[in-house]
């Protein structure tokens, strides 16, 4: 039994057989487990060889037709390598000794390649390149098939991978993928967000661990505590089966809350909206009881393909979300990508930045690429005809920046008017407060903007100078830091003074521990990860405003994050004992 720790991103317990996915750079599992799998793994090996043969035969044919016989001969030699009796025999022996086909192939071919390199001589050293190429081809098929298998699962598995892309995650078959764990990734990675939305227990950011796992070995993923257990003993299994069951009944109970009103015991309504990234999430989000979308991240439109999304792409996606929430607010955040994640067409233009968080990203990128920005704004204004759409600009750090963004919007309005294209004029325009400069200047901003949305993830990162995805400093990232509370206080006061709505859309608001504090500070609207809605609603229904205000007043006097968080944890335990039992 081995225990690995990572970041808990989607709660719940999953127990089942491991399915190990390799990555692009072919990090491969060393072994697999059950003896009954020998036949299966041998078969996989031969299927991959057949596929490589077909590939090379095709190349041979093309070479013969286009270049002539002597070039085709190169490929016929490669074909012989694929069918080499020693290669096949040695790999088969290793598979029978429970090595994974991937590992066996790379070991056997690696040995030959090394031998050729060591023999000296230019010619043989070059042949080792042929052998490495062959290794890559075979591995690509072995691993590639695994990736494809994800789409055609027939039995339940826990997926273990170096990384899963957001679209791979979005396409996971909920019926068969019980949970997943990845080596890379952080709290706020898109994969983590999607896992939460899909309610698949998940742990990310474990660090290198795949080579310790055998295919089809039993694994436990505890997505509530960020723990992955490989090959658990009987006692551990019993314990987790029990908590899996408890988690399920807890979920069922929370689900029953979804129809009840979201208000405090003294009758004050609190709106819980959902954060989504993909239009497909809108439906499930509504089922959870969301009163709208408070943060619609539009990045996937830019990252999904290498071409820039057209106005129509944007328009269709927005309309799809509005359809799910015809009479409720849907707040679209304009492009929030940056130098670490650039839309395809712009990648070449911006060389890697030394400090991506402080470089060209978000609204800065939009303001440097007006065409890109205008396309998105046009689509949003047009879609707004069909619902309560709102637009917010991310990463605003100065008043001038906000004014520039508004100017671009006015241009777009003028264009649409001139072209006689139908759109809505009175779309509310707001901004994310996620840069300390904006939080400090909240009073001035509040006189010009339609609404504030506190983006706590970036606000905390910039205020405390900590990148939460960086393992070395992640423990310094504390939502409960007094400096953060003071920033929030300043923003809430400014919003109240100028009578504009303020909501919180960062991960902090999805954490039940901070909810009484934020309500006590005067916030009445939250946009959260959809799966957190039932739990947060339970907290709200156990709370009174005067209690929340007392909690906030006390928390705001504490001097260090640890004390704030401990105090809030204790208060939540008293408010909702059932909820805390789950931890």
């Amino acid at each position: 039994m081995q225990i690995k720790r990572g970041i808990a991103v989607s709660p719940g317990v999953a127990i089942g057989p491991a399915m190990v996915l390799g990555s692009e750079n072919f990090r491969i599992p060393h072994r697999y487990l059950s003896a009954s799998a020998v036949g299966f793994e041998l078969n996989r090996f031969h299927t991959a060889l057949d596929a490589v043969c077909r590939e090379i035969s095709l190349n041979e044919k093309l070479a013969r037709e286009r270049l002539g016989e002597q070039y085709a001969a190169i490929f016929s030699a490669h074909l012989m390598l694929v069918r080499d009796p020693q290669l096949i025999e040695q790999v088969e022996t290793r598979i029978q000794q429970k090595q994974s086909p991937e590992y066996a192939v790379s070991q056997v071919l690696g040995q030959y390649a090394k031998q050729l390199q060591n023999l000296g001589g230019h010619y043989l050293a070059e042949r080792s390149v042929d052998i490495f190429d062959l290794e890559k081809r075979i591995l690509r098929h072995l691993l590639g098939e695994r990736r494809e298998e994800l789409g055609n699962l027939t039995q339940p598995v826990l997926v273990l991978a170096s990384n899963l892309t957001p679209s791979e995650t979005a396409n996971l078959d909920r019926k068969f993928v019980l949970g997943f764990a990845t080596e890379v990734g952080g709290h706020t990675s898109h994969t983590a967000i999607l896992a939460g939305a899909m309610e698949i227990p998940a742990v990310v950011g474990i660090g290198k661990f795949l080579s310790d796992v055998a295919g089809s070995e039993t694994i436990i993923i505890d997505g509530s505590h960020g723990v992955v257990i490989i090959d658990p003993d009987e006692e551990t299994l019993v314990k987790y089966r029990d908590s899996e069951e408890r988690f399920r009944s807890h979920e069922r109970r929370l689900k029953s809350l979804s129809k009840l009103p979201c208000e405090t015991q003294d009758g004050v309504a609190i709106s819980l909206l959902g954060n989504i990234e993909f239009p497909q999430e809108a439906g499930p989000c509504k089922e959870k009881g969301a009163a709208g979308i408070g943060l619609y991240r539009t990045e996937f439109l830019y990252l999904e393909s290498n071409r820039e999304p057209t106005e129509e792409d944007h328009y269709q996606a927005y309309c799809q979300v509005l359809k799910a929430f015809p009479n409720q607010p849907v707040t679209i955040r304009t492009l929030d990508l940056g130098s670490d994640k650039m839309p395809g067409a712009l990648r070449a233009k911006y060389p890697e930045s030394v400090n991506p968080a402080l470089s060209v990203r978000s609204i800065r990128l939009s303001l440097q690429h007006l065409q890109l920005f205008k396309t998105q704004l046009r689509a949003a204004l047009r879609a707004a005809e069909f619902g309560d759409l709102r637009i917010m600009f991310p990463l605003i750090s100065t008043l001038l920046e906000y004014r520039q963004a508004k100017m671009v919007l006015s241009d777009v309005v003028e264009d649409l008017e001139e072209q006689g294209i139908p759109f809505r004029r009175d779309v509310p325009i707001g901004m994310m407060v996620e840069v300390p400069s904006a939080a400090i200047m909240a009073e001035e901003f509040a006189q010009e903007v339609g609404f504030f949305s506190l983006g706590t993830n970036d606000l905390i990162q910039y205020t405390l100078a900590v990148d939460r995805a960086d393992q070395a400093v992640a423990n310094l990232y504390r939502s409960g830091d007094p400096s953060i509370l003071r920033m929030i206080r300043n923003v809430v006061n400014a919003a109240r003074k100028h009578n504009i709505p303020v909501s919180v859309c960062g991960q902090m608001s999805s954490d039940a521990v901070f909810l009484p504090l934020l309500i006590g500070m005067g916030i009445r609207q939250f946009s959260v990860t959809p799966h957190a809605i039932p739990e947060l609603k339970e907290v709200i229904r156990n709370l009174t405003i005067s209690k929340a205000e007392k909690i906030a007043a006390r928390a705001e006097t504490l001097e260090v994050a640890r004390d704030v968080e401990n105090y809030l944890g204790g208060e939540l335990r008293r408010l909702c004992p059932d909820l805390m039992q789950m931890d």
Binding site: M80, D84, P85, L119
Partner: protein, 97 residues
Amino acid sequence: MSEAVIHRRTVTVINEQGLHFRPCQLIALAAQQHQSSVILSRGATRADAKSLLELLTLAAEQGTNLELEVAGPDAIDALNEVTELFSCGFQSPPRSV
């Protein structure tokens, strides 16, 4: 003829390039046509002559002497065919002696 009998012969690499891809390929093709085991060795390095991968590791240049060992039901045929490849310097079709 007993299968346990090992037939041995010494062959010499006479072609200019030595045992490159193409010659190795021809040896392996010829060896694979037979049931018998075909081993080529250079000093302590032994190569399964049916395996292109192993033949390459002999790194035999022009003038190298290799030991050919064949055992099996069609050993004599295999021995002759492989020897012929060496003696004609891997030129096809093989010239008659």
